[in-house]
């Protein structure tokens, strides 16, 4: 296992990256934050899929659903309040929920909107490209190569 990550909803716009996660799921622990579950599941329903098919899609890359009881709402609100000048509550509350979940679970976040998570201090926030660069580096490192 190389690392534990969580993925933002916008990651699902990149089919190739999702397939990259499927390809290396044995080396990753992947969390799907609460809000992401809702947004992506809704996307599936709009496309004519069922909830079960959405769950199946997430399970393909070994995705684990974060529960609403796994983080503190107070932490979300405090983070939102502290960053309110740059990231207004009503446009960014989803970001605060996702970022707080990542900090609570200790997993790095992969998103196309790295700037929305500048306030996340305790875990890395990476774009998919940066993550792939880092991950490929680990795959090629003899000390980490378990395959």
């Amino acid at each position: 296992m190389f690392t534990t990550i969580a993925i933002d909803s916008n990651i699902f716009r990149d089919r190739d990256f999702i397939n990259y996660l499927i390809l290396y799921k044995e080396k990753l622990r992947i969390f799907v934050p609460t809000i992401v579950q809702m947004e992506v599941a809704f996307f599936h329903l709009v496309k004519g899929n069922t909830w079960d098919l959405f769950v199946h899609h997430v399970r393909e890359f070994g995705g684990e659903f974060v529960g609403w009881n796994q983080f503190s709402i107070q932490d979300v609100v405090v983070n939102a309040y502290n960053a309110r000048q740059k990231l207004p509550f009503r446009q960014h509350i989803r970001d605060f929920i996702i970022g707080t979940e990542c900090e609570t679970l200790g997993c790095e976040l992969i998103t196309f909107n790295v700037d929305h998570f500048y306030w996340v201090k305790s875990v890395p926030v990476k774009s998919p490209d940066l993550f792939v660069s880092w991950f490929e580096g680990n795959l090629q490192s003899p000390s980490n190569n378990t395959t």
Partner: protein
């Protein structure tokens, strides 16, 4: 006596250093010290990748695109069911971005 060393910097950096020292009312050495501390924190918290910890980091965009496209090719070859689901999911005008909540219209502000 604390040993000192000299480093070569260009004019632009020198001006920035001088300006920051003046704004913060500290010595130029203190500005460098604080900048180094900030950089160190970024590396330690993973905000910035260390070349030492990951020497092959920073693949270029083209390489990454190739690696990701190859992932899709492999997965689709292994599992045609995934290909079918994905082709349906990524067809049509709607994208996931259409359903990402960016305005809760909460009335709290």
């Amino acid at each position: 006596m604390i040993p000192h060393t000299t480093v070569a910097i260009d004019q632009v950096v020198r001006k920035k250093l001088k300006k920051l020292a003046s704004l913060l009312d500290v010595s130029q050495g203190e500005v460098i010290k604080q900048a180094l501390a900030m950089l160190e924190e970024k590396i330690l918290t993973g905000k910035l990748e260390s070349r030492q910890s990951n020497p092959t980091a920073r693949l270029d965009k083209k390489d990454i695109g190739r690696i990701l496209a190859e992932a899709t090719r492999k997965i689709w070859a292994i599992n045609p069911e995934i290909k079918r689901i994905q082709e349906k999911l990524y067809s049509g005008p709607e994208t996931i971005d259409d359903f990402i909540i960016n305005d809760w219209n909460s009335g709290l502000e």
